[in-house]
Amino acid sequence: MSRNRLESHTGATLDFTFNGKAYQGIVGDTLASALLANGVDVVGRSFKYARPRGIFGHGAEEPNAIIQLGAGAATIPNLKATQVELYQGLEASSVNGWPSVDFDVMGIIGAFGRLMPPGFYYKTFMYPKKLWMTYEHFIRKAAGLGATPVEADPDSYDKLNQHCDVLVVGAGPAGLVAAREAARTGARVIIADEQSEFGGSLLASKQTIDGRIATDWIASLVAELAAYKNVQLLPRSTVFGYYDHNFLTILERRTDHLALSAPSGTRQRIHRVRAAQVVLATGAFERPLVFAHNDIPGVMLASSVSTYVNRYGVAPGNKLVVFTTNDNAYQTALDWHQTGRQVVAVVDSRTNPSGEIVDAVKALGIEVLVGHGLIEARGKKRVKAALVAPINESGTQVVGAVRYLDSDLIACSGGWSPAIHLSSHTGAKPVWDPNIVGFRPGASKQQERSAGACRGTFDLAGCLAEGASAGAEAAKLSGRGDGGLQFPGFSVEEYSEQPQQALFLVPHTQSTSRAPSQFVDFQLDVSASGIELAVREGFESVEHVKRYTALGFGTDQGKLGNINGMAILANALDQSIAETGTTIFRPSYTPTTFGAIAGRDVNHLFDPERYTAMHRWHQQQGAEFEDVGQWKRPWYFPQSGESLQKAVNREGLAVRNSVGILDASTLGKIDIQGPDAAEFITRMYTNSYLKLAPGKCRYGVMLKEDGMIFDDGVCACLADNHYLMFTTTGGAAGVLAWLELWQQTEWPELQVYFTSVTDHWTTATVTGPNARKVIAKVCNDIELSNEAFGFMDWRDGTVAGVKARIFRISFTGELSYEVNVPAHYGRHIWEALIAAGEEFNITPYGTETMHVLRAEKGFIIVGQDTDGSMTPADMNMDWVVGKNKAFSFIGKRSLQRSDTVRENRKQLVGLKTLKGSDVLPEGAQVVFDAKQKIPMSMQGHVTSSYYSASLGHSIALAVVKGGHSRLGQVVYCPLADGRSIAAEIVSSVFYDPKGERQHV
């Protein structure tokens, strides 16, 4: 039997280790309760001063017992020991306290605590700036924030989308009865609670409800709920975010109580719940009191002491002093007394406490010191004594002699703070209520209501009554039931409570700045004097003080310290807490694993991949792939050991000298039909399609209404009132939405219909001087001569036995045929064309060669050579703008704006490096004078740059201010390595400037 385990509490034993030492706990323990049972006092070190710290709470509020679970790929950092369920073989270690919690380097810094005021890091480690990373590395290592695993997570995670009528958050007394009232109406109910068992505060309570012990009453209520088919019970499930339109997220821990890594199935899953109505029954956190050295191990929350005694059978000490401002904490004295261990005294700050429970404690012969404060704890790694003294009625001054109480455990209670986090997520502004000495949830912004302690109702009868009403009301508003109650009343035995005192900072015989540290936020060592110092330094806003002092920055996110901090701030500013206000809580309520957030969307499921019909052929040929949007496109086809550049040189020369083949299936394709199709298309493109006859194609540029190039491509007239529009690969969805926008919202009178057919067609582009000969071998029902089937024509025909459309359009400047067949025939056609081209050494090429070939021709790629600020004139493409179109096409008016006609706009030009082997980096800046001082006057930038094997030198496209009138000038591209490459401004068309080769 562990030394602090009560004999009445038994169960199967579980072995575990903490910081390398072996211990035993029992089934039902948390790691925290098991450590306390074993008498482990120091569980970590504080962030800044490295002070020894012990377990302080029993749930999500725990600031000190932050641990690392396990090792290796599945290790989990920064868990609260109070929320880790014990399992056989559990291994845990402190995150703070390198190299050990009992002695560490930062402990030395602790002795110099006064030299590290708030803002210490900002003030001290500011200069020199470049050393900050070094400082930060050291500080983090010494302070410790847990270690993230460096291997891939071995576990799997899931996401689940759910709808419900009523979501009940929290399964304490209020939540449970709310769920029952909602369930009986037939409403679909989800009730979630972060703990392993339902019951909330009642799990550690000895109260009776309707004549039954609380735990029995819970068990039968939970069984009743489980019997409903319309109720889903989610224990070990934290509702961690409340978002717009009643969308809430729940993290369900399915296997964390069994092992570090899931023995089977998914470890955790996130329920994404759209709830018609929400009942928040999230309870309250007890507030510590801020007294000197209140951080020594052995100081705990009163309710936590009671919880360890009543629920876990652990008495974490021997000689208890209770320090309270309210009646509630007297219960801890009663609970402790029952263990047979000593209650040294109850110290009550109030002058005249008169509640029933006060009398009950006195009746046991326990000393009650009224009008007293516990002003300081003494001890190093464990409380040894409590210093108490009479204080004045308002709790601001010590007014009598200090007395030492021999003690090893201090249970403190400054009242209760409603857990208003989720209502705060919705934007509801918390309201300070002096009656409960806490913030209540603000007026609802969404379909939610709070019930019980999270609403500031702390008595059990009140919680039950509110919970029942909230459940019935929520069900009714979701369309179920009439709002009436099945169980309107409960008979509960409890002491009636007298008002508490609003006390936060406990006075000391010395002033706050001189007294031993009085901690407000334990994890980050924020003390009362630190907050007062921040005010003296001029900080007034609670949000600023929070950031300056780091109040509420720890993993507990201020669940313990925030209210005390704000109260101390308010006092220092000489204003009320209501005036000071509170900081805003945001998701997540407690830390959520990235694994659960990612769910199944990892590795190959991270993003969908789109493949063309020839994808496997490309793979078999050893193609390297490039991502273009979600498409996987062949980048280049290396032959044994070829580099990218060598492969591209070979592929490019093959196209220029014989024939190449490209998988162009990914180009966006939109089928456009309707009597007004031509008119509509003409309004969208810069040029006209009104006279485009069936069998003809035309290249067009699409502008946004601001006159800037948005997409480009070829549009073919398939038949009267029937067109096929090609878009860029990446622009397909955007162009379709753009067409729909104008037709639906501006010109609904135009009869025209759009269908995406990108995936329906496969495109194989056969290009090069021998292209015609290749096509002739597989197609005998189309007259292929240049006279019968010219450039920018298209024909219906049969290719290798498959009905096909062939387009004579060219992105290489060579004779080209783009063969389109229904996608399922893609691979057949591809292989037929490869076979037909064998005698010409037909060469498959990828996107890199495609880019080089088009750049040699000065053909732009929208999104690479343009960036949303380029007009057709900027791109030297005035020829594509129809000047005489009747309708003012999209973007036309903007081409006359003063800014678009200005002279020194960036304009597309070619750049030829003076040394042909120099290839400019894409994105390089262009300057006119390489010797000028930094910052240089930047005149443009390189948009595309390659080595051209056909030309035997590098080529580049660039946009340069006033570039069109600068042909022949030499410009410079300064590089990061200090070199500067000189280049001549030339025409953007490097190859076949007359464009004869595509017309043969």
């Binding site: 003012s888 036309k892 008016r893």
Partner: protein, 96 residues
Amino acid sequence: MLLIHCPHCREHREEEEFSYGGEAHIVRPLEPEALSDEEWGDYLFFRTNSRGIHHEMWYHAVGCRRYFNATRNTVTYEILETYKTGTQPTITGASA
């Protein structure tokens, strides 16, 4: 995440099915060339940026592929109504 009622599908669907289309009820001038640069600039670039009631276009991109309008409170994100293109909102800044 918003829950949006598509007036064409007549269902509430998740926000991820939709894309935002900007302020609604902005009519393209019939004769753009007749406008001054300033007037054209107003049409192109200037929006009301309302605090509170705002009428805006949404596109049911992976649903029916229809544009429609929504009246949304830009402070609370509450969507007060959705209505088809070409019709007028019943809730306006004046009525709310």
